[in-house]
Structures are given as C-alpha cells and as structure tokens.
C-alpha cells in the first residue's frame, strides 16, 4: 500500500501529486503523457530528490514526512531505469555483486541469485564489460541486478522505451513472468497503453504534474474517455487461460476466468497461429472495432466467436459512432463500436441481451 501526497519542483516544473493511495501488490502502471510528472513522482517516491516535500507511507512505514524523508538507501527499492544505469566500471558479474553485497540477508531464501540469472537469461553475459552490450541485454542485467538486491518494491521508469520492437517484446515477456513469479510489488512508468493493458493490475493516471485518478485496469478500460484508448479506439482486456481443443496442437481456445461467484467462463476460439501454450494466467485483447453485434445467434457466418452478452451502457465514442459496453457471463467486459444508425435500426438499449461477434482477438500474454 502506497499512500501520500508529494510535492517536488524540478526546474520550472512542479509535481504536486495531490492525495493518492493504491495497493502495491501486483503491477501498478504510472500512466500519462510525457511531461505529466510520472518520472518526477517516481523519483519522489524513491527518495532520490532531497527537495521532495509532503507525505508518503509504504504500508505502515513513513517514507516522507514534510521535509524529512527516509534515505533512498533504506527504502529497499529495486529500480530499473530507462537506460539501465549499469556501473560501467564493472563487468556484468561485478554489477550483480554490487547489489548482492549490499542486500539484506534476512530475506535471503526468497530470491536466489542463480535462479535470477537463469530466468533473465544473462548467464552468457556474466564476464562481459557493460560498455558494449545491446539495449535489451542491458535491461535484462538491470532487472537481474534489481532483483538480486532483494527489494520490497520494484520500480521501473520506461524500461522499454529505448528498445527496438523485438527486444521490447522479449522483455515484456520477461518482466511479466519474473514479476509474477517473484511476487514483487511493482510500479511501472509507461506511456504505451499496450504495456498497461498487458501488465497492469491498476493504473495511476497522471496529468499536469498531479495524480488524476487511480483505477483498477478493468475500470480504466471501462470508460469511453479512458486515456488508455488511442487511435485504435476502445479496447477490452479479458483475463483467462489457454487450452487445447481436442488435443489438436493447432486448435486453441481461450477460457476466461469468472470475476464473480455466479459467473460462467466464456470461451473464445483462437486462430491456428500455434501460439505457445503456457500454463498460468493469460490476457486476451479485443478491439471494439473487431466486435460486431447481432440481436440473435447467426448460423452461417465466418465469425466463429459468437459470445452472448448483455448491454451495460452505450456511449458516444466519436461523430456518428457509439461504443456499446457489454457484460459477459463471466462478469468481464467486452466493447463493440458501431454506428449511430446501427444502434437505432437494431433498437439497442441498456439491459438487452445481444450476441457479440468477435472477428479477431489477440493474446497479450
């Protein structure tokens, strides 16, 4: 649990967060446009700037009280910076040793050095100088180094922003599994909605140097004016897992996780792209553009995913466009974007039962 109200002026930019509070478990995304104060808030939370004022508590510990702040050295934070911030006078091994030597011994058993090296795949790099590593390699080392320091909180400041798309994709996978497996509360700065949708449990929205609101990801994706929606339009994100159909390696389906006690899982047929089946939670991303609506099931149609849903509400999403928010049998949300005319002709209204025709859905993880 983080709770506080922090003020930090850097040059002529003032970050005045206002009161905020959010659970620290899982992954919290700090989201906002560049210049909204994300990095400044993170630096203030980490205790890296002695001009920080205000209040900050982490669970029962006071990290900032007025002018007085707990030293950054004592906050047990593992940080991954945008440019990795490796110690250039040491080898990769030397970087890890720097963190290990100063890590507290008492939380020892939880995280094992060899295990971290294996999971981050940096074994072959250990004796290299850090000067001539690729951006992706640097970030792997940075996260390994952060974990080896046995932090109570992991903070990441746009760790993927400086990488090419391939390294980005690999590291997203890595971050996700590593953070979940080691169960470290994480605060992640990003301005990429796709990263938020994929990783975050909750989103801290920032604008003009202040925390605008804190929302669970589901809520954040449940309003038409969500800053997470880009030119792609509204997007729904569904939690569930992947299964084989009839043990056929080329037929997969996504089965959602009911969010309520009375909820029933919903099944999506996935394309035959042979996506690796990994056990464990996965997330499905469905663009509102890719969802059509029908009042009843349709027999002969190429869209194999016909999902029964109930209309939660209908919002205007643009000139002549409506976003229809629907609740599925499992309690999760799907959004369809249709024209004004379609809404009028079909007589769509709140509370109605409809069938959502899903053209395509992408597995995010």
């Amino acid at each position: 649990m983080f709770a506080g109200n922090l003020i930090l002026t850097v040059g002529d930019f003032q970050m005045a967060s206002g009161d905020f509070a959010f659970d620290s478990d899982g992954i919290t995304a700090l989201f906002g446009r560049s210049g909204s104060g994300k990095s400044t808030l993170l630096r203030a939370m980490a205790g890296l700037d002695r001009h920080t004022r205000g209040q900050l508590r982490f669970h029962d510990e006071v990290w900032q009280d007025g002018r007085r702040g707990l030293l950054a050295e004592q906050r047990d934070i593992g940080m991954v910076f945008q440019h990795a911030a490796l110690l250039t006078h040491r080898t990769v091994r030397g970087n890890l040793a720097f963190a290990a030597r100063r890590a507290p011994g008492d939380r020892g058993a939880a995280i094992d050095r060899d295990q971290i090296i294996e999971r981050t795949g940096i074994g072959p790099l250990l004796d290299r100088a850090v000067g001539n590593l690729s951006g992706g390699e640097r970030q792997r080392i940075a996260i390994a180094r952060a974990l080896i320091g046995r932090p109570r909180v992991l903070m990441m400041d746009e760790p993927l922003a400086a990488l090419d798309w391939r390294a980005k994709a690999e590291l997203l996978d890595l971050f996700e599994t590593v953070i979940r497996d080691f169960a470290i509360p994480t605060v992640l700065i990003t301005h990429a909605p796709a990263e938020v949708e994929r990783l975050a449990d909750r989103v801290v929205f920032m604008a003009d140097g202040a925390v605008e609101r804190v929302e669970a990801l589901k809520e954040a994706l449940g309003r038409i004016d969500s800053p997470l929606f880009t030119e792609e339009g509204p997007v729904a994100s569904l939690d569930g897992h992947v299964e084989r159909v009839d043990d056929d390696p080329h037929r997969l389906r996504f089965v959602t996780t009911p969010q309520t006690d009375s909820g029933q899982p919903v099944t999506f047929q996935l394309g035959a792209d042979g996506a690796a089946i990994e056990n464990g939670p996965r997330r499905l991303r469905v663009r509102a553009d890719d969802v059509a609506l029908s009042r009843e099931r349709i027999g002969n149609i190429s869209m194999q995913n016909q999902i029964p849903a109930r209309i939660e509400r209908i919002d205007t999403s643009g000139p002549g466009r409506r976003a229809v928010f629907m609740t599925l049998a499992d309690g999760q949300r799907l959004i369809s974007e249709v024209t004004d005319r379609a809404v009028a002709n079909m007589g769509l209204d709140t509370g109605q039962a409809v069938t959502a025709l899903v053209k395509s859905a992408a597995l995010m993880r």
């Binding site: 890296l48 940080m79 910076f81 440019h83 490796l86 250039t88 006078h89």
Partner: protein, 230 residues
C-alpha cells in the same frame, strides 16, 4: 655526480620530485572533496568559489608568493592558525613552505579535471547505486571515484608536472637555499646567472624531456578513456 662529464647536483632534482609528490598527495586529499563540493553546488555563490580556486591560474606567481610569505611569517595569520593545533616552528624557507605554496599554486590543476569528471557522471548511475543501498562514502569510493578515474589521473599528472615546473612561488616562499629549498627551476636560473651553461643545459634538457613525456601521458590517458566510451 657527473653526467656527460658535466657536474650535476642531484639534490634539486630529488627535492623537486619530493615536493611534487607530496603536493599531489595533499591535493588528492583536499582537492578532490573541494571538486566534489563545487560540482554539486547549486548556489549562485558557486561561481565565486570556482573563481577563487582558479585564481592561481591567472595571478603572477609572485603575487601569490608575496601573500603567502606574509601569511606564513612567524606572526602571520597562517602560522598563528596552525599554532592553534599545536604547530610550532617556521613555515617559510623550508620544505613545509614549499609544499604549502605548491598546494595553493597547483589547486586548479587538481580541482578542474576532477570537477569536469564529477559533472560528467550519470545521475542515473549514482541513483542506482543509492537504491542498491550504497551510502555516501560507500558510493564515493566504489562508484564515484572509479568512474572519475580519468579525472584523477589527469589531475594528478598535471599537479605533479605543474609543481615541478613552478618557479616564482617556490622562489619567494622557499628562498634559494642550496641543499634545502633549491628546486630544479631555481637551480637552472642560478646556473644561468653564474654562466654555468653546461649545467643549465643538462637540467633544462631533463625538464624538457620530463614535460614532454608528461603531456604525452596525459593525452594517452584522455585518448584511452574517450575510446572506451565511444
């Protein structure tokens, strides 16, 4: 001792090396913290301190030497100040005086390379070290100084060489006492005054070779480090 059949008094050379070495060590101890303080200073007074440190670069050495003599006479403020810590004795015209004068005179040669090294450090890297629980002194010796080693090398070499090459300050503060405070530069002056051109030639040649080797060393250090970064 004779070299090429020319009598060579080695005491000035030995004395010069000693003064230069001790000056370099003293400046590592006091110049590095001064450079760190200045490089972190955000106050508008910073320019004043920077100018103060650089003053020996532009002042005629005689001016500095003159004020030093006044400060270091038996009743001078520096002597009395040191007296508070139990110091008794003379500061001028001896080894101590030579070192004090050299330290002040060479201060900018240590502070300036160190300041630019400190200012070139990545804030992110220092922050990363803090978050790995390295306290200030820990950070200073395990991160800040190792990453500033180019500045340390250049500053030390320049300080040493500059001390070897000084004339005005050591002449005024140290005097020209044979076998006690006569350094190489003064010895050359003496030889020329007494028309001992052979000895002057020999010592001067030693100085030229030393100075040249030093500068080549400095440029090598700089090139090696910039190649590493690039």
């Amino acid at each position: 001792m004779t070299l090429f059949g020319i009598p060579l008094d080695t005491h000035p050379i030995w004395l010069t090396v000693q003064v230069a070495a001790i000056t370099t060590i003293v400046l590592l101890v006091i110049g590095v913290p001064i450079a760190w303080g200045l490089s972190r200073m955000r106050s508008r007074w910073r320019v004043v301190f920077e100018a103060l440190v650089s003053l020996p670069l532009v002042l005629p050495p005689t001016v500095l030497g003159f004020y030093l003599i006044i400060a270091m006479t038996p009743n001078g403020p520096l002597t009395e100040f040191l007296g508070l810590f139990g110091f008794s004795g003379q500061l001028t015209f001896n080894f101590t005086g030579l070192v004090i004068g050299s330290v002040l005179f060479s201060l900018p040669f240590m502070v300036q390379p160190m300041m630019s090294a400190f200012q070139g450090l990545s804030e992110e890297v220092l922050d990363a070290a803090r978050l790995m629980r390295a306290r200030f002194l820990d950070r200073f010796f395990t991160v800040i100084l190792p990453l500033s080693r180019q500045g340390l090398l250049v500053g030390s070499v320049l300080t040493f060489a500059h001390t070897v090459g000084e004339f005005g300050v050591v002449l005024m503060v140290g005097g020209n006492i044979e076998g006690q405070t006569r350094m190489v530069s003064i010895a050359i002056f003496d030889h020329v005054e007494s028309f001992e051109y052979a000895q002057a030639h020999l010592l001067s040649a030693v100085m030229v070779i030393f100075a040249f080797a030093t500068l080549v060393g400095v440029y090598l250090i700089n090139r090696r480090f910039s190649a590493k970064l690039g």
